[in-house]
């Protein structure tokens, strides 16, 4: 056992944080800078990060650990660029033996917990394409076949800026009921329950890693503010009442990192159901921690923290989407309870 980064992982962590920090938004006003956003999108694509879970020799090009390292870096900078969305689509396509062209994400039901399953060629309820952009115009849905699933694609309308969603850095685009779902012609493998469990484990790993990044980013932002903002003639960060809030936040971030690292490793190294359970554990802890940490950031920023111009709410909003995506802490606790009850009774 050695949970340290390999030299390659450490280098990826360093370079991903550097890129996200250089090209991500520094201020809320930066979110409107489309030229910057395009540069960021192009840099992420050129780095090959969207292909990390695409087809390699008999395995994905990179492990869940590398994908989570990038997710963590992008979360830390509140980077307004698709990552988990296209990476999850590529992972699902690889499992189905489909050649993914990098132009898709996955559509989810309105709860954002499960991938959308449609019974025939037309969707009958609104579904949601999570984490796409103008360059992505398709979303995968699942069509049941026997005990497994086939992939189909529905069209995602790009349009200029589709936001209006809670997260100001990533999109959730509604796909209306009645959209037609085209079966993917070259699917070589019917997706099994195990495939979906392993894929869901990746979803937990990426959303948990994003939450860890969000926590690190917002703690850094808030510590810097507390050291500089003065009241009563001294920095507010010199008051124990403020220090203790930030110390709690730092601990929650560290504990979240430990549990999220394991979930990212589990994706490719544990049996699908065990990897998914490891992901549920990570997601539960990270979602609860991130909520507290982001709320702390708003509080320590005081009145400013409650204005649109403060980056704290950008992180909080990003945490809200990452928490809901694949199910929040309460959802995971209930699922863990059921899974462990079944295990206790000798069922798998």
């Amino acid at each position: 056992m050695d949970t340290r980064d390999t030299p390659e992982q450490a280098e990826l962590r360093r370079s991903a944080r550097q890129l996200a920090g250089d090209l991500g938004p520094s201020t809320v006003a930066d979110l409107d800078d489309l030229a910057r956003r395009r540069r960021l999108g192009a840099a992420v694509r050129e780095a090959g990060w969207l292909d990390l879970r695409g087809e390699g020799d008999d395995a994905p090009l990179a492990s869940g650990v590398e994908a989570a390292i990038v997710a963590d870096a992008l979360g830390g900078a509140a980077a307004d660029v698709p990552f988990a969305g296209p990476v999850l689509a590529a992972d699902l396509a690889r499992r189905a033996g489909v050649t993914d062209t990098g132009g898709a994400v996955v559509a989810f039901t309105s709860t954002l917990i499960d991938p959308a399953i449609v019974s025939d060629a037309v969707t009958c309820a609104p579904i949601y394409a999570v984490d796409s952009d103008d360059a992505i115009n398709a979303a995968y849905v699942l069509i049941p076949e026997g005990s497994g699933y086939r992939l189909a694609a529905v069209r995602v309308d790009g349009g200029p800026d589709p936001t209006g969603g809670t997260d100001l850095t990533r999109t959730v685009r509604a796909i209306p009921a009645g959209s037609s779902a085209q079966r993917i012609a070259d699917q070589r493998v019917v997706l099994t329950g195990d495939d979906l469990a392993a894929w869901t484990a990746l979803g937990f790993a990426l959303t948990s890693a994003d939450l860890v990044g969000v926590m690190r980013g917002v703690v850094d932002l808030t510590v810097a503010y507390a050291a500089q903002r003065r009241q009563f003639g001294v920095p507010v960060g010199s008051f124990q009442a403020v220090q203790h809030l930030l110390a709690d936040a730092q601990c929650l971030m560290e504990g979240s990192l430990s549990v999220a690292l394991h979930a990212s490793w589990a994706v490719d190294n544990l049996a699908p159901n065990d990897a998914r359970s490891a992901g549920r554990v990570a997601k539960t802890y990270c979602a609860r921690a991130a909520r507290t940490v982001c709320e702390t950031a708003v509080q320590v920023h005081g009145g400013i923290g409650n204005t649109w111009e403060c980056m704290a709410h950008v992180y909080l909003r990003r945490a809200l989407l990452s928490s809901q995506w694949f199910g929040d802490d309460r959802v995971q606790l209930r699922a863990l309870g059921h899974e462990r009850l079944r295990a206790a009774h000798g069922l798998s």
Partner: protein, 377 residues
């Protein structure tokens, strides 16, 4: 990054599993009855004699000279077997190893690690808790000895200890942090009187109070140099705050497994919120297990005596108190009706975790100033 067992780790795991199946003494996970410590002492020597304790410590002192991550396997297998946690004394080993002379290490480490010598830690005093450096117990040179006078408190298991790792003031006229020295003082002598305190969960044999009245300690038993006591104490407390050093993950996992057994044995008699609290305790315990994996893996680069232990201490405290709350919730009205309810005792004992080894508030001060770099007022 790899959470898998190496071949050597897998081999230890196999041997442990076989041994634990035969030798689990079936003790409670934490101190909830008055026989706990005596039976934990037997467990210590049994684990050591079977070759499963002191895994990462030097072979010269009875250890096995393995990387610290092997302790993760020990904790996991102990938890899986429902056996008692490993003895929590690594912080004393760290303190003696880092600051003791070769003669001190040769004299004391083997007995400490093997469990043949029982130790306690004499730091806190009635008027020196969080402000430890203000302690007033004195050590005055008298020939080849020092004479010790003072009053120590919260000294766990002092009444059955052979030795005390004592912090005392040797130089009264220098600033408070600079006048302290550390000693290994023998506890079986006339100048020492024990007055144990009763804890809130009713335990009478853990919480010690020790009065030193011209007790003697040979000058050669000083650990570190004269006036270096504060540095020695800080090394010890930094490791006393680490769940990886204490082995507490196994304690929490054992309790969670017992709680799961209760609620899942007859699931319909428990409310959804009770199930949820047990699942949350499981998540918290898993987080701590994985956090310890990370911290002990980091030790492959060398042991760090820095302030990171304060983060681990807070995480560990939240886990222990979450587990305590889950136990209380599962017990329901029984915990309010029966003072001997086991879950009530687990819950009450968990409240000490945010005080012992430095309060949560002290840990937060350390994290804010020494890790986050916030200004002091």
């Amino acid at each position: 990054m790899d959470f898998r067992d190496s071949p050597a780790e897998a081999d230890l795991r196999r041997r442990l599993r076989v041994w634990l199946a035969e030798h689990n003494p079936g003790l409670p996970a934490s101190s909830t009855d008055d026989q706990y410590w005596a039976r934990q002492a037997e467990w210590h020597t049994a684990l050591y004699d079977a070759g499963f304790f002191g895994l990462s410590w030097p072979a010269r002192f009875g250890g096995h000279a393995l990387p610290a991550v092997f302790d993760v396997i020990l904790d996991e297998e102990i938890a899986a077997a429902g056996a008692p946690p490993r003895p929590s004394l690594g912080y004393l080993v760290q303190g003696i190893s880092a600051h003791g002379s070769e003669a001190i290490k040769d004299r004391f480490l083997r007995g400490l690690i093997s469990g043949r010598d029982r130790w306690c830690q004499g730091f806190s005093e009635p008027d020196a808790g969080s402000d430890l450096a203000s302690l007033r117990t004195t050590a005055v040179r008298d020939g080849d000895d020092y004479l010790i006078n003072g009053h120590k408190i919260w000294t766990s298991y002092s009444d059955v200890a052979d030795w005390c790792f004592l912090l005392a003031r040797t130089e009264p006229d220098v600033p408070k942090h600079k006048g302290l020295s550390a000693f290994a003082i023998p506890m079986h002598q006339p100048g020492i009187v024990q007055r144990p305190l009763r804890m809130i969960n009713g335990i009478t044999t853990e919480f010690g109070q020790v009065l030193f009245d011209d007790a003697r300690v040979p000058a050669e038993n000083m650990i570190g140099g004269p006036g270096e006591g504060w540095r020695v104490a800080m090394t010890i407390v930094s490791h006393e705050r680490e769940p990886g050093e204490l082995g507490y993950v196994a304690r929490y996992a054992k309790t969670v497994t017992e709680l799961e057994h209760v609620v899942r044995g007859d699931p319909d008699t428990f409310r959804p919120d009770q199930h949820e609290l047990v699942s949350w305790a499981h998540v918290q315990t898993e987080m701590l297990r994985l956090h310890v994996c990370r911290r002990l893996s980091d030790r492959l680069d060398g042991v760090d005596h820095g302030p990171g232990g304060s983060i681990d201490k807070l995480l560990m405290t939240w886990v222990e108190q979450t587990v305590g709350e889950a136990a209380l919730a599962v017990s329901g009205s029984k915990a309010a009706l029966d003072s001997n309810d086991a879950a009530l005792k687990v819950y009450l004992y968990s409240r000490a975790q945010s005080v012992m080894g430095g309060t949560s508030q002290i840990q937060k001060n350390i994290i804010a100033t020494r890790i986050l770099g916030l200004p002091t007022s």
